[in-house]
């Protein structure tokens, strides 16, 4: 095995419970919008974001007389009086094209066009309703499916090129005995974490402080400094807990600098929290993708060519590419691939990363096509995937750091009872429902960036660990405590964790499933440094049983430093630090991807199996069971890890059956901008979810062996459900979400 050559890491003791769990459920820990210090609470002002009601045009005037006279109003910022800022070009994730009242143009319906600041939120809202905005509308670009001919190449496709060819796809198709060619569509989706975006800003002379709900405190800090033209050192960003982000909080959006501007103008702390309906536009969303997919295979199922041409909507304000074509490049070993990703401009808010950007819609569409291919070949869908198993990365022609996907197929299929599947649609039923089984492959790249951490040994043998990372509810606190504890061999309950503060050592955006893979190696490095310092302290300390030993002879375990050559010779951390006058001992550490990282590809994998029941009269779908096994490297914490995977799966079910933003064809506004109409599943929609992980460390990727777990759960799930619906009903729905209406009309 590949891993055998690497030194296996010592097992890390896991916390049984979420580090911050109790403080969360007792309401003790504060979310960004809940702080009422260090400023005087009575000073706090409330800002309300006013949004445009047309999709395209110019603001001619804003009559603010009534609003200015409305009770409690302190100030109103509009394009006619807002301070001028220097706007830099977008640089995602941190910096985006924002609406900061710098001109009178309107690029989408729902764009921030004014900010009303008042003594209370109610007063701000009611004054906002009194603003009379006069527009000069311009024709708007709305719709995607009817405008595919307008598709163009993106100006800046991001990390991946927008077009890519490997081998000769046309030759492959001409040799193929079986060809599948269809169009598959995914809708616009909007992030709706429980905690909406929100900011509190106040100035301390030239210095700006913000509490901001964000996945990237460093990004907010830099973007605020750049936007407001102040030194980075003058910006302090704090966010101890995030109530979910899913990508939309990976970037700083307009409300953050607007809140800071309002605070500067009023000289008071200002709070600006987005309402639920304001989450549908000003803070990103996943674009709709229209995917033409063509697969060609020989009679034995070998893929000879794969082609995927994606067209998606992008805001007129900024190109953003959802790389739905990603899986077609690297999920299977095909003789040739050809992909493209193009955009159609629309008067909509800027699109952005949403949980598993690229792979979520990408697997949702490709994995239906694979199911269709398997059917046409009269082959088991798992077998088709094994026949085309990519032992190396076809997109870069290089090895994987670790890949055990075959085991995932095997284990999940066994637990699910896949062998009982009858491939003929409508062959299984239960009462008034057709029963169907479906499966799909899950995948998401493993990412890692440079990160730093600080650790301290504290009096009493306790520890502190800090890093400027974020916890989105994902478990960062928990695994940081575990990693720090493991470094000195103490119990993880003895560790105090600090994150979400821009004064801490830098860490990357909590996006791309990279936080654990980036931050834990930095902590590992910091604890190694700390151990050396403590060893030296003991060696120099005449009162220590380890006095006079060599640094390299000393290790730590069970709250003690000990002599490797004579383990009974030891000094407890508590005694050591007490003799140091209870002065904490501190070390910092850092880690970054190996220079050799481009020699190999790192990716996570999974196999997802779904059972659905489709009512014969109503075509309502119930997802009875999802069984999935993942290869994500080391599973860092059973509870938070499984929670991430299960949450991803629930979203995958939502992708399959529920979520879709409806855009008004005239006004370009999201029609269903509330959770009453923008549906996500409720408990009654979710059956049993049975997840497991292989837990095989990927030590070529990083010294912890973990590849990140935050996004892969959503991938594959939607297609597994779609394929199960086909198996149940014989109806192939190629446009998500798969509603009862679509099943009936198919």
């Amino acid at each position: 095995m590949m891993q055998a050559a690497e030194k296996a890491p010592k097992p890390v003791k896991q916390l049984d419970h979420r580090y911050e769990g109790i403080s969360k459920v007792t309401g003790k820990i504060k979310y960004a919008g809940e702080f009422s210090e260090p400023f005087a609470k009575s000073d706090l002002l409330y800002a309300y974001l006013v949004q445009s009601t047309i999709p395209s045009g110019d603001i001619v005037s804003i009559d603010r007389a009534a609003a200015d006279n409305s009770a409690g109003v302190v100030t109103i910022l509009t394009p006619f009086n807002a301070p001028k800022l220097s706007q830099a070009p977008p640089q995602p994730p941190a910096r985006r094209n924002l609406s900061l009242l710098q001109d009178t143009s309107v690029s989408y319906n729902g764009q921030p066009i004014a900010v009303v600041v008042a003594r209370s939120l109610d007063e701000a809202k009611s004054a906002a309703a009194l603003l009379k905005v006069k527009y000069a509308p311009k024709p708007a670009k709305i719709g995607l499916k009817n405008r595919l001919a307008e598709a163009r190449w993106p100006k800046d496709p991001g990390k991946e090129p927008a077009g890519n060819h490997r081998g000769d796809a046309q030759a492959g198709f001409s040799k193929a005995t079986v060809i599948i060619e269809n169009t598959y569509i995914t809708p616009i989706q909007h992030h709706n974490p429980m905690e909406p975006h929100g900011t509190i800003a106040w100035w301390d002379g030239p210095k700006l402080n913000v509490y901001d709900s964000t996945q990237y405190i460093t990004g907010v800090r830099q973007s605020l400094a750049k936007t407001l033209n102040i030194p980075v050192d003058f910006v302090h960003v704090v966010d101890p807990v995030v109530g979910g982000g899913f990508g939309s909080k990976g970037s700083m959006w307009s409300h953050v600098p607007l809140c800071a501007m309002a605070a500067r103008i009023t000289g008071k702390p200002v709070k600006l929290i987005l309402e639920r309906e304001q989450m549908f536009g000003p803070v990103g969303g996943r674009p709709s993708t229209v995917n033409k997919i063509k697969l060609g295979a020989s009679a034995d199922g070998k893929l000879l060519a794969m082609q995927q041409d994606v067209v998606m909507n992008a805001s007129v304000m900024e190109d953003f590419v959802e790389h739905a074509e990603g899986p077609t490049k690297n999920l299977y070993m095909s003789s040739a691939n050809s992909v493209s990703a193009k955009i159609v401009e629309a008067n909509l808010g800027v699109s952005t990363f949403m949980r598993a950007p690229g792979e979520a819609p990408g697997t949702a569409v490709l994995e239906i096509a694979m199911d269709e291919l398997a059917e046409k070949l009269n082959m088991d869908p798992v077998q088709l995937r094994l026949v085309n198993y990519a032992e190396t990365d076809p997109s870069h022609d290089r090895p994987w750091t670790s890949k055990n996907l075959k085991d995932c197929y095997q284990q999940a299929a066994d637990r699910f009872g896949w062998s009982k599947r009858n491939a003929t649609p409508r062959s299984m039923s239960d009462g008034n429902a057709w029963i169907g089984y479906g499966m799909a492959t899950a995948t998401y790249p493993a990412n890692r960036s440079a990160a730093m951490a600080i650790v301290r040994l504290l009096p009493g043998g306790r520890m502190f660990v800090g890093s400027g990372t974020q916890d989105l509810g994902t478990g960062t606190y928990t695994i940081m405590a575990q990693q720090a504890a493991a470094g000195l061999g103490i119990d993880p309950t003895l560790v105090e964790v600090k994150l979400g503060d821009s004064t801490l050592p830098k860490a990357p955006v909590s996006g791309g499933s990279q936080s654990s893979a980036s931050v834990l190696p930095a902590i590992q490095d910091a604890t190694s440094q700390l151990k050396l310092k403590l060893a030296d302290l003991a060696i120099a300390d005449a009162a220590s049983p380890l006095h006079g030993l060599k640094t390299l002879d000393i290790d730590a375990k069970d709250g003690k430093l000990f002599n490797r050559n004579n383990p009974t010779q030891s000094d407890t951390l508590t005694d050591l630090i007490a003799r140091n006058g209870n002065k904490p001992v501190e070390a910092t550490g850092s880690a970054e991807p190996a220079e050799s990282k481009d020699a190999m590809s790192s990716q996570s994998w999974g196999a997802v199996f779904a059972e659905v029941a489709v009512d014969k009269d109503t075509h309502m779908v119930k997802v009875r069971r999802i069984v999935a096994t993942y290869d994500i490297g080391t599973l860092l914490n059973q509870k938070t890890g499984h929670n991430q995977l299960m949450g991803g799966i629930v979203w995958g079910i939502s992708f399959a059956l529920h979520e879709e933003a409806h855009i008004d064809s005239v006004y370009g506004r999201v029609v269903n901008e509330s959770l009453a109409e923008y549906h996500v599943p409720v408990n009654a929609d979710i059956g049993t979810i049975d997840v497991s992980t292989l837990n095989i460390p990927d030590l070529k990727f990083n010294p912890i062996g973990s590849r990140g777990i935050g996004e892969i759960g959503i991938t594959g799930t939607a297609a597994a459900v779609a394929n199960a619906i086909y198996n149940a009903t014989g109806k192939r729905i190629r446009e998500y979400p798969i509603t009862p209406d679509k099943i009936m009309l198919a």
Binding site: D122, S126, A129, D617, E677
Partner: protein
Amino acid sequence: MHSDVTQFDLAAPPSLQAVLKQLAAEPGKHAPIAGGTEMMVALGAGRLQQRSLLSIQHLRELRFIRVEDRLLHIGSGTTFTDIRRSAEIAKHLPLLVQSASWTGSVANQNRGTIGGNICNASPAADTPPALLAYGATVTLVSASGERTMRYVDFHLGYKKTALRPDELLHSIHVPLVFGDHRQYIRKVGTRNAQAISKIALAAVAKVEEQRLADVRLGAASLTDRPVRCSATEAVLSGASLASDALEETIRLARAALAGETHAIDDIRSTARYRGAVAGNLLEEFLRSLAG
């Protein structure tokens, strides 16, 4: 756009009489608010016309469930939770318990009232199909007296009811005559709970020697208001469920239902889906009677 809550008045007059007096003194100026689960949504969305709200939530006079004169009387202030917990309703009107159980969430059911559900007059509301099928009557009260009418006549059009601005819905009455009826209800939503119905059908009927009698059908989301499907009922009256006649009975009933309903397209569903699934539900009911 949003409403400014500071611009609204809320009063809680001490008695039903006091509320009625105020409604009569300034008709149209005040709006009664019961559980507020519709009103507060309308307020948030800036859709609330009246600026003065009179709370009736605390009025014991409107919150009761009792059997009297072979009728089950339900006060308009009765919550969905009250309905779900009532042994009397469970015994006599199982369809109403069912519909209360899938109205919104538990929090909703604790506050929301049956009176609010009816007076709000949404075509998609959950309790009307059952009340229509049960042939309910309603009593409206005002300072000048009270009147009782058939519930089916209460809904006049989209969100239009027979209530005058000075009136309150006092109570709902259902005759206890369904001991021998077969009963059926089904809601189809966009998800398996906490969803507004795409369509719902409630049905009661007697089966006598394989023939249908006293068929009553109530439906939601098939027209601009909650409806009793009387043309379909007429076709089914006396129709045979015998195996050689069943298919024809179903065909005629489906045709009649399609003829008297006019479903719409909206973001929750399509007219075609609603029409077809309404027929499927009716068929499911009829087959269950035959089986």
